[in-house]
Each structure stands twice: as C-alpha cells, then as structure tokens.
C-alpha cells in the first residue's frame, strides 16, 4: 500500500498539542506512522496548514426528509447543476445538494466524516441507500428516539434496562450510531396537531414529560456505554424567549456520569444551540442569550454543543421537529412538507430565506457566532450550520472567516440594514476574540471526534491514527486578511487524504477512496420483555412486518462497526 510523507507543513493537532509547528506526517497503509521508507511519495506542504480531516457532527444529508427537500425544490437546482470534467458525476443543489455533490463538496473542504443527524428507524433503509451513494466521506446516522412509543412507555415506568435493550435493538436493525432526541415528546404530540414547548409539558396519552424522556435516554445511553452521548435538539426551537427551556434542558445532565470505553467525557450533546438561545418575548424584541447559555455550558463540563450558524442565505429548513415547521410555514407561507412516522417520529421541511435586511435573521447570525466566541473549551464547542437549516454546509468557510477575523465579521455586522438594532440586541460587537487555527482544529476535528467516541483513530494526527488528513493553502504566518481569501482557502484543499489515499488535489476530486458506514453494535443480555413488546407492536400497530424492518448488509458494503459490550 502507498506510503507518503507530508513535509514541512504547519501542523495543528489538538490530540498531540501541536500548535502550528512545522512537522512531517508519515502515512503508510492508511494509517499515520512514525516514519516511512525512502520510496514514500513526498507531498510538499511548505507554507501550508495540515490538520486531520474534519468531522461534521450534525448535518441533514441523507434520508426521507432530505430527499423530500430535494425533489420538492426543483428551483434549488435551477441553474445550479453541473459536472466538473473528470471522474465526478453531475452535482447540483444550492441548499440541499444531491448525494454526489454532498460527498464531493465536503471532501473539497477537507471533511472526511459526516453524521446524518436524524434517521427515522422505519425509513432507515432510505438513509442507507443515500449514504451508500454519497461518495468519499465516511458517514453514520443517528436514529431518533425522543418520540418513539417504546421509549415513551418504558421511560414512563422508568425501565432503563428495557430502554437500553430497545435502543440496542434499533441500532442493530437500522445500523445506527447513537441516541438522537428531537423535540422530545413534542413530535408525538404533533401527530395530534399539538406540541410540547417546555420540558414539563406532558405528551398526550403517554403522559410523560420531555424532562423524563431526556433524563431516561441519557441514563440508558450511559447504561449501554455508547461511543456518543445522547444528542438533543431541545423543545421550543426558534421561539423568542426559549433560552429558559434550553437551560432547563441542559441542567438535566447534571449529576449524570459518562460511562464508556471510547474516551467520551460528556453525557449530553446539545445541537444547533443558536436556535435555542433567544431572549425577548416576540420577534420584535428578540435578543441574544448566547452569553447566558455559554456561561452554563462553560461551567458544566459534561456537555458538548454545536453552534448551528446562520449563513444569511436562501436555504431549506428540515427537522424532525414537525410542529416547528408548521409554525414556520405559518410565518413565511412557503411550501410545507410534513410526514408523521408511525410509532416513531415525524419531520417537516420549509424553505427559508435568511436575509441581511431582516433584523431577526441578523440577530440569529450574531448569536451563532457568539456561542463559538464565548466558548471557553473549544473541545466542547463544534461549528455547524445544522445543514441546511441555518445555511448550507458549503458555507463553512464563510463561517470560519467570521469567527477567525473580527474585521470580516464587523464588516458584515455594521452593514446590516438595521445594524443599530442588531448590535443593540446582541453581544457580537463587543467581542474581540478571533478563533485561531488551533482552536478551529479543536472545534472541527479533535472535539467532534472525541464527542463521537472516535477520538482514538480520528480527529488527530498522532501515529496510529487513521490517515484522514486535510492540507490547506493557508500559511499561518500570512493568514489571509479578507473574507473572500479566507473562504477560498478553506473551500478547496490542496490535498485531502482519506484512509491514506489522496482523494482531492487542489480542490479536484481524483479518487473516490473507500467510504465506510459507521454504526454501533451494542450487545445486551437477552431481554424477553422487549422482544415480546416488539413482536406485539409489529403485529398490531406497525404497517410493515417485523422481518421486513431491518436494513440488510448489502446497503452498507463497507462497514466500520464500533462494538459495545453492555451485557451485565
């Protein structure tokens, strides 16, 4: 197998604490090694930045609601479908890229792993068909549990062991990675047109509260010892004043201890926190509570979060928070797609335009940036756009430019139509901090890898780790000074190594590499009660047979399985 030596690059590796020193990185047989022989191919990284391949911990890139978003928005591909000469397929879609564009675009930006944020178990096959067709990048998917009838019933009776056994069963049936919770209880309420807007609103009929659901799922997650913590999209997304619900939810993690063999040190991952950090009581007086939220996150080390940065684009919102999408449709009257999934969850899709001329959108933009800039531990704060909800993932380079240069973000801030109002409602103008390249590596590589339980092999450049490496045309000593230059540098890598193979060269895809589907196989002791309940629910309430539910091996020809032994 190929040997490479990346020479003279400025290495940023939080795993080894390397902060830009010139260091050679040796690659052999898909791994980073101490040294290679003289026959190794040299990659000249002089004047360039070398980091591990990036990991996106939360994006909506594969599955039924993503695809509904695609095909119900032909205008998203209008004048935006093209094929680059070479080995790539036709790529298209501004806010919801086709699967080919998804793989290529992430790879061009230096990403090697993407987590599909929400997989409805009944549609798992669809998620895996899309993952299978997405080139280059490794992917995994998080099945949703927060509105699942089995979970609601078990947790009402505080049956953690049964909950854990069911979770393990679902992970195996769906080839899922962990425990995702979206609008706990609220999406089941939405099947009747209702919602749960605080953590104490009971779910109709099931009579359990979001607080009990979230706490129970965290306990079950630690009972199993899964690689990733429970991953939550809180109640009351997007509404002014919702930061109180956010703090209530974050507090549920207090006292719960992480238990796993993957190096994970947190018990809750709170996602796209920008949408959950609003003060005020209406869109007329909405203001930022990013400081209050981050004060809590900074002090409570058992939480990780990701930002959900608004990019100020026309985009498409899509989430398993079904009632939120109905609410958004009532606000902007744009076409609304909704699907409620029997016994499990729901989803909605609505296009949205984040305009710099609308002060609410500008305030949202500021809040997303403030979360990252207030973060004291970059290993617990990750950069996302909740793609495509707050913006397309292809805008990550632009988000980096706002975080890494006060000048660039102030230019944007001061030229908003209602700049005074926006500045008055947010903290951003007072923040001088600029995220450094090292911190960026923490927030986009080492941090997410560790939170996902992949820190041993991914997110770093230590010998023994997987050779997923991104080399950028960025000279740390001459860091680009304009927004456009920063964006350009992060948008197209000089090189992307994936599993030790060069897949991208100067922004051009040269090899499809070996993508893997990551999933978690949690072994629990035989649980007759849960198996009985599963059998019964399939016979009586599901519209498919139990034997037709699991995702067969053929959908994930290359699997990377993390095994968990939770037999106790």
């Amino acid at each position: 197998m190929s040997e490479y030596i990346i020479k003279n690059g400025h290495v940023f590796d939080p795993v080894q604490g390397i902060k830009g020193d010139k260091k050679d990185i040796a690659i052999k047989d898909g791994k980073i090694v101490d040294k290679v022989g003289s026959s190794a191919k040299t990659i000249d990284a002089k004047g360039k930045t070398v980091m591990a391949g990036a990991l996106d911990i939360h994006a909506h890139v594969a599955g039924p609601k993503v695809n509904a978003g695609r095909w119900y928005r032909p205008e998203d591909k209008h004048f935006d479908s093209h094929k680059v000469p070479g080995i790539t397929r036709i790529e298209g879609g501004k806010s919801i890229p086709t699967v080919f564009k998804t793989g290529y675009a992430y790879a061009r930006m230096g990403f090697t792993f993407v987590m599909e944020a929400a997989m409805p178990p009944m549609y798992a096959r669809h998620v895996h068909e899309e993952i299978h067709d997405t080139p280059i990048i490794d992917e995994a998917a998080l099945p949703v549990f927060g509105n699942n009838w089995f979970i609601l019933e078990y947790l009402k009776n505080q049956e953690i062991e049964n909950t854990a056994a069911y979770i393990a069963w679902i992970l195996r049936q769906t080839k899922g990675y962990g425990v995702k919770v979206v609008n706990p209880g609220g999406t089941e309420a939405w099947a009747w047109g209702l919602n749960c807007l605080t953590i104490h609103d009971p779910v109709p009929y099931f009579d359990i509260t979001p607080s009990e659901i979230v706490t129970g799922l965290m306990k079950a997650n630690e009972y199993l010892g899964l690689p990733h913590s429970m991953h939550i999209h809180q109640n009351d997304l997007g509404n002014p004043g919702n930061y109180t619900v956010t703090l209530d939810t974050l507090k549920l993690a207090e006292g719960i201890k992480p238990k796993n063999n993957f190096g994970r040190e947190q018990v809750m991952h709170s996602t796209h926190l920008q949408f959950h950090s609003y003060g005020g009581d209406s869109f007329a007086n909405i203001d930022s509570k990013a400081k209050e939220v981050m004060d809590y996150v900074n002090k409570n080390k058992n939480i990780t979060m990701d930002t959900g940065n608004v990019t100020l684009d026309e985009t498409t919102t899509m989430t398993a928070d079904g009632p939120f999408e109905h609410h958004l449709h009532a606000l902007n009257h744009l076409k609304w797609f909704n699907v409620d999934v029997e016994l499990e969850t729901g989803a909605g899709v609505v296009p949205y335009i984040y305009s710099p001329n609308v002060s609410v959108n500008a305030i949202q933009w500021a809040i997303g940036l403030e979360l990252a800039l207030f973060a004291k531990d970059p290993m617990r704060c990750f950069i996302t756009t909740d793609h495509p909800n707050a913006g397309p993932f292809t805008r990550y380079p632009r988000v980096y430019s706002w975080l890494m240069s006060k000048k660039v973000r102030d230019e944007r801030l001061n030229t908003f139509k209602n700049a005074d109002k926006v500045i008055g409602a947010t903290y951003l103008a007072e923040i001088d901090r600029e995220i450094t390249l090292y911190e960026l590596a923490q927030m986009t590589r080492a941090g997410p890898a560790k939170a996902l339980g992949l820190g041993k092999d991914y997110g770093g450049l230590a010998p023994g780790m997987n050779a997923d490496i991104a080399i950028y045309n960025i000279d740390p000593d001459k860091f680009p000074s304009t927004g456009a230059d920063i964006e350009k540098a992060f948008a197209n890598v000089a090189y992307l190594f994936k599993d030790g193979k060069i897949c991208v060269e100067e922004g051009k895809i040269v090899d499809m590499g070996n993508k893997h589907t990551f999933w978690v196989d949690a072994k629990v002791k035989e649980n007759k009660q849960v198996m009985h309940d599963i059998r019964e629910k399939f016979l009586k309430y599901y519209s498919v047979n139990e034997n037709n539910y699991p995702v067969p091996e053929s959908y994930a020809p290359h699997q990377h399985i993390l095994t968990v032994d939770a037999v106790q």
């Binding site: 119900y72 032909p74 205008e75 209008h78 009257h333 076409k335």
Partner: protein, 266 residues
Amino acid sequence: MDTITLTVKKVPEIYLECESLNPDTFAGKTGDQIAKLPAYQGKEMSTLGEYFTISGNAGATAAETKIIVNGDCSKMKYIGAKMTAGEIVVNSDCDMYTGSWMSGGKLLVKGNVHSFCGLALKGGEFIIEGNAGNYLGAAYRGDWRGMSGGVLRVKGNAGSDVATFMTGGEMIIEGNVDIHLGTHMEGGKIVLKGNANRRVGGQLVKGEIYVFGKINVMMPGYKKTGEVDLEVDGTKARFTEYIGDLGERHPKRKGETVYGKLYMKK
C-alpha cells in the same frame, strides 16, 4: 445601437438550445466570434454559426446591441433568455423559454411562441404578436417567485397556466386564455381582453385581474362587491368588481385584509 442579423440556414432535427442567443452573450463580440458561440442539440455541441448566417457585429454592451433573427425558429429554444438589456426582433415562431428570466431590454416576436416563455420576467418589454403556449410568464417549477416586473403583451391567444405565482409587473393578453390564469398570484396586474375558459385567479393571494370577455365558470371563492368605472390598457369601461380568492390567505395592511381583485367588463 449596433444591429446584428441572424438568418436560419439549417433547421435543427431535434431542438436547438440557443442559450447564447441574447444581447448579453453577444455584447462585445464580432459576428465571427458570435458564430462560434455554443448551441446544443441534446449532447451534440454545435455552434450558432452552424445554424445561422450572421451579418454585422454586436454592440459593446448588451444595451447597445440589437439582434434581428430571420428564418424558421420554431425549433429554437431559449432565444432572448436571461437578457438584461438591448433588443431582439424575431421574425418567426419560437419554441420554448423565449424571453424567460428576462430582466430588461425589448424582445419582440413576430410570430407564435411555445410554452414556458417569459418565465419569471423581471423587467423589460416582451411582445408576442402571435399566440403563446402554456405557462406564459409563469414561475419556474416549484418556485414561488414568478413574473415580478416588466411588461408582457400577447396579441393573440395564450394557453393555460398563464402568470402562475405572479408577484409584479403587467401582463396583457389581447386574445383568449384557456384554464388557470393567475393561479397563486401574489401581486401584479393581468389584463385579459378576450375570454377565459375556467379558473381565473384560483388561490390568488393578491393582485388584479381585468377580464374584458367572458369566463365560462367563475371560481366559487370570488364575491361580487360592486361596480366601478375604469380605464384599462386604453379602454374606458364599467367593470363588475369581485374580491377573492376567499378560499386563500390574504395579507393585512393596517388591520384591514387586502384581497385580490377581479374586474369583469360589463
């Protein structure tokens, strides 16, 4: 203004995609350079020069460019699409997408046009002396932003799905239309001098439709509110006023609901 003349010398077998045929793409080019601009029949890339004899040169800018097209263009698509300035006169029928996504300048077709023409018109003046097909001045598939500005005049008839999702601008149809005029309209003005078959102003949120002729079946969501004297496109007459579509949402202004208006000439 510089005038460049294109004369059809070969009719395409399957349709020719003429995305290059507009003042913006021609601007600053000589006739020879324009002859080399791409034109497609399916996957076969050809040039404008293969299908047209070209005489003259374009102007330095789109605004200074006038294009005259002679010969049978009934199998040419995208003529004048996306133009922002300048003039085009086509002395023939045209196929689909003529004048679509136009935002300025003048486009005159002395013949008929097929479907999907004048899509999402933003500005300028588009005149069709013959008939138009379906989806005239409509939005592109899935887009809620249709025609938003400019003036589109059809001297003959138009088909169905005319002016869907219109948000602004003015459309005048001097002949008749089939079904679905102004569906999902959110602004703008439509003047229909002839008759409509059915479904005028269905799901209309805001906007004005003036009908001089008859509508075979009125939408149930339209309610008569009175009569007014108006001057519309040079004609003074008495119109019955309707508000609607009452089955649809409507914006409010200062607490008052702003309905769409349908005027039927008495």
